[in-house]
Symmetry: C2
Subunit: 660 residues, 2 copies
């Protein structure tokens, strides 16, 4: 059987790629960062998908198949011990390198988890750092925890080395529980490691003052944790114990699920079909999304997320993560387990990751797939979900397909808000005091989704429509009840904004194909969430490196390999390079073209006490809905069945069914 071009690299393919790279550097140390599928050029895939769908969707035709390519990211350690960062593409069938690039020193490769481990080790080795911790006089039974973080934007004028920083906390080991919440005990110090030297090169002291205190003044007592309070979240430690009156809700599918998975990548469900893949940076990706055989999307992914913190006191401006670009969302994907994350009949998908020697390993259950009931108004949806844990935060990303032809992108944010120590009795302009000694800093989460549409083909256009009042007048609006719809074509690549007050709706259409009833071009529509943009001052580092946050919607012309809203290299960046801002700035024609739509949305998160110690989920959904794509509601043939498993609280029974 021929491997489908969108299928992730197998362990074997990954090993071949690794071996090809190693064979090219017999005299060097090669430190691998990632090996994963280099997706084929779209021009080749178009032909291939046409063949596939003309024959048997889900099977992989053997003719015209694009080469199987592996993207390899690795450091070459020269004799001077200074690594250079390389990106190569290996043809795993030809066993040959087909592309090679040595990335310039102005960029930093994405981090790996073993670099984080180096920071923890370096902290242990640093006498200066250990002395700093000793000064804090931790309470008996408390032990230091260093949480590695990317360094954030490099200050303008600072020497460009590869750095990592550590947020420091203390954990109460008397609980004898590895999940005891150390965030409740923040220490006002940040060690900084030079990644090449693997040495702590600086220790930043953090201010712990409140309103009116200086940015840098050291106002805390030596016993800096004495006013902090336990804030456990694992059930066995929660103060007061856990509730005893929660009864189980079970979801069963006695006849099995309505979906089918072929070849561990092709999914069919209720006239939908798509491929699902997974990569270290974006996590789960949908490809070739179709309904009843008609193409809707070529590709859909979460492209980037930035989390800037608003505490004005240095060095907190460097608390700004790019959780996809810096370390890879896929790398942080949880291994899901049955009965914990989704209910019902679950299909899990695995990924393949590599360690620094390039050895591939199966990363099990990184994606889950299941069906769920979503209540009245076409009840079913299929959920493709992955969950990532990034230090304190936890994000749940889901693509939901529904029986009415809709695609919902859902992001859930939960986890533990990032906190710093604050002196007893003080409050702050930079966040909220959520517990004794714990200041939860104000911050934002800004996401970018990448939607590569293929509405009945690859030549698409984007228009936006608004509804506007019309003054009452005898000619067009005699009774004053009329309003007009204004349509605007996005002819050139650009950034655009949400405008809910005028009910601005974006439509991605195929201008060459008209709906037979309405005469409108077939399309899909969405209303961007009108969430707040990045608040950092224009020109600041936080702002410069996240130019993708300048607009809610970007429309750019498709180019292979342009997948990342904030650019390929975000770690320690001072400016977004090659991101969606640059793509749009090319001012290319995007009317009746192969285009890409980017949707940016987010959350200004000024924490409340209830976000402590674990914040209740915040949910964001963007809905892509057919708009004159079909000739009727595609769910109209969904059967109206009565569920026989539901029961009354007190007595059994029940009569006829609600129609809708």
């Amino acid at each position: 059987m021929v491997t489908h071009p969108f299928k992730i690299l197998s362990v074997e393919e990954t090993r071949i790629a690794r071996d090809v790279v190693l064979s090219l550097y017999p005299d060097h140390v090669v430190d691998f960062r990632e090996i994963y599928l280099q997706e084929p050029e779209k021009e080749l895939m178009k032909q291939y998908l046409d063949l596939e769908h003309a024959a048997q969707p889900g099977q992989s035709p053997s003719s015209k198949r694009p080469p199987r390519l592996a993207k390899c990211q690795y450091d070459i350690i020269g004799s001077d011990k200074i690594p250079s960062y390389h990106e190569s593409v290996i043809d795993v069938e030809l066993k040959k390198r087909v592309r090679h690039e040595i990335v310039g020193k102005e960029h930093q490769a994405s981090l790996t988890l073993w670099e984080f481990q180096h920071l923890v080790e370096a902290c242990k080795q640093s006498k200066e750092f250990q002395d700093a911790i000793a000064d804090f006089k931790l309470p008996d039974g408390f032990e230091l925890v260093v949480e590695p973080w990317p360094y954030g934007g490099l200050d303008f004028g600072a020497e460009s080395r590869r750095f990592f920083q550590g947020l420091c906390f203390a954990q109460d080991t008397r609980n004898k529980n590895a999940d005891s919440n150390f965030y409740a005990y923040p220490l006002p110090v940040i060690p900084v490691m030079d990644a090449h030297l693997k040495k702590i090169v600086r220790i930043d002291r953090l201010a712990t003052g409140g309103k009116g205190d200086s940015f840098t003044g050291q106002t805390h007592s030596p016993r800096v944790l004495d006013h902090c309070q336990s804030a456990e979240y694992v059930p066995e430690l929660v103060s007061g114990g856990t509730r005893k009156d929660v009864k189980p809700i079970n979801i069963t599918q006695p006849e099995g699920p309505s979906f089918k998975v072929i070849d561990e990548s092709f999914v069919e469900w209720q006239k939908w079909s798509f491929r699902v893949s997974f990569n270290p940076r974006e996590g789960a990706v949908l490809h070739d999304v179709r309904y009843d055989g008609r193409s809707i999307l070529y590709r859909m992914s979460i492209s980037e997320m930035t989390v800037p913190y608003a505490d004005a006191r240095p060095p907190f401006h460097r608390k700004q993560a790019f959780d996809f670009g810096d370390g890879g969302a896929g790398n942080c994907a949880n291994n899901l387990s049955l009965g914990c994350d989704c209910l019902g009949v679950i299909k899990y998908f695995d990924a393949v990751i590599v360690s620094s020697d390039g050895e591939p390993k199966v990363h099990p259950n990184v994606i889950c797939l299941h069906e769920q009931d979503n209540g009245i108004g076409w009840k079913r949806e299929l959920v493709v979900q992955f969950i990532i844990t990034l230090a304190n935060y936890e994000y749940v990303f889901a693509y939901k397909l529904d029986t009415a032809g809709g695609i919902t992108l859902e992001v859930r944010a939960t986890g533990i808000v990032s906190v710093v120590n604050i002196d007893p009795g003080k409050t702050s302009d930079y966040g909220n005091v959520v517990s004794g000694g714990v200041l939860a800093q104000n911050h934002q989460h800004i996401f970018a989704a990448r939607i590569d549409p293929a509405i009945d083909g690859h030549k698409n256009s984007v228009t936006y429509e608004e509804s506007h009042p019309v003054p009452q007048n005898p000619t067009t609006n005699p009774q004053g009840n009329f309003y007009e719809i204004r349509k605007t074509l996005v002819s050139e690549s650009a950034g655009l904004d949400a405008n809910p007050i005028d009910h601005r709706v974006f439509k991605i259409v195929n201008p060459s194909k008209k709906n037979p009833h309405s005469g409108n071009p077939v399309g899909y529509k969405f209303s961007p969430l009108p969430t707040q943009k990045l608040l950092a001052a224009p020109g600041s580092i936080q702002s410069q490196r996240a130019l993708f946050t300048n607009h809610h919607v970007w429309v750019t012309k498709y180019r292979d390999d342009e997948l990342y809203a904030a650019g390929r290299y975000t770690l320690q960046s001072q400016l977004e390079v090659g991101g969606v801002h640059d793509m749009a700035a090319r001012k290319e024609n995007v009317a009746d073209e192969d285009l890409v739509v980017w949707n940016v949305f987010g959350l200004t998160h000024n924490p409340r006490v209830e976000d402590w110690p674990v914040m209740p989920v915040e949910i964001y959904q963007v809905h892509f809905k057919p708009s004159d794509f079909f000739e009727r509601n595609p769910a109209i043939d969904f059967p109206s069945t009565k569920n026989t498993a539901s029961v009354l609280v007190e007595k059994e029974g029940g009569e006829c069914c609600n129609k809708l």
Copy 2:
């Protein structure tokens, strides 16, 4: 056992009220419209609820109980046959009328379903109307269907009579199915009935033209349905049949639900408690909502909804329903049935309605209550739901309480878009052609929810907070990453707007009680949905009668009996009288006061082809979340249990559990 003051009137109490009214009018015909609970004055209820919660919540103390009162709405038909409309309050224990008002002729009472029936009868009796229908030369086997509607806003200068209008369609009786979709065959005529005469007094002819055609020109052929197409939605009639591959999803609760219902009105679930009631106008209402005994809301309800249509051609400006004020959402509540609307273990609540002779009848299963899983990030929610069907539309209203202390108000809109006939091949500025001969008119749905807070007591304040950028400067924002939170107190009753771009968040707080961690007043927050306001021109009838749509949020001082956003009398209104616009205009102090918050949101609905023949659900949610109300996430003690009923697609198994 003493009846709790928030409990709906029983059949017996209703009958007593009816009899008291009848006894007062021995020589007149009394036509009842409604009899339902007159809720007690808040001053009395405050004391009573304090007593209840000091003793045993859910039980009704016998001392200090406010009187049981019935609100009776009825017409008195005098000897001149001209009815006058009365509203009385009857003390059902004293069997005595305690309040009485004859409503002025400038207002119209809400309609009753039997008045709708009168219209259908009047159409049958009207030769002129029957001749008009005969002119259309209906296809063989088609029969006329008249769908009664409220008349909409009375044109300025028109004689103030009580009118009803009928939208006309034809139904294909050859299907022998009462649910065959007659909306697919719209007839361009509207009969108008004088309700007192019960006679058709006018027949409006509808234009069927498209772009460029005149407002009134009769351009259709006599065989006006010949280009219309069948568009069935009931499964047994759907063209192409229904899907055969949908497998059941069952939700079972083997240990029963986690909620308890006492006295058919008091609900306890996961530290929440509240009373639920039901009335003919608002449907389900929540009272005395508490968490862990702490008061959060005194009352929560859906207050009003208006649906104005934007077709400029007369008489379509009179297509504007007020679905709560005109006819009563409660009156249109569906009788829910097991296995159709909600899954799991369901508790239903009944209502009591009266017929025109005042005889009460149980209206079964108008509210359903059930628990559901909502995925990661405190998984459980309790849903109080009711569904109303209003001619073509169907709305699902739900109050959802979650384990993290949140209250979500959810509205789902589905059903059939309102359509009119359009000539073959034409398109329109007034809507979208969704099928042959069928123009779905552009319209809006604008809802008002009424939130009567009692955050740890009745003296509350409303503030709104925004997050604003701060220019980079050495003193307050050296690195440019800082943003400031600006707080504004709403000191005087007013209308205010959503402002998502500045992340405007409204907080309802108790200024007398501070959170011990943050020092902020305890409160609940919400972000109003920034949906489009009413588009009708200012000064137009559509606009004047819906002044509540001028703002997303209103804050008014509490007064007993001020429950309705668009005022008590909406039927045929030309101006909103006594609605939230008037309440706000009193410019009363609302700081540290007993105040009411009104939230207005809606949907500009420019139909797409996929909305035909039944639109996929549109979902709107407003989230009320604790904001420094609690001392930690109140769900933190929710146990982390592994669901044992979930299975893998292919094999059984599964290991450890995801924490959150």
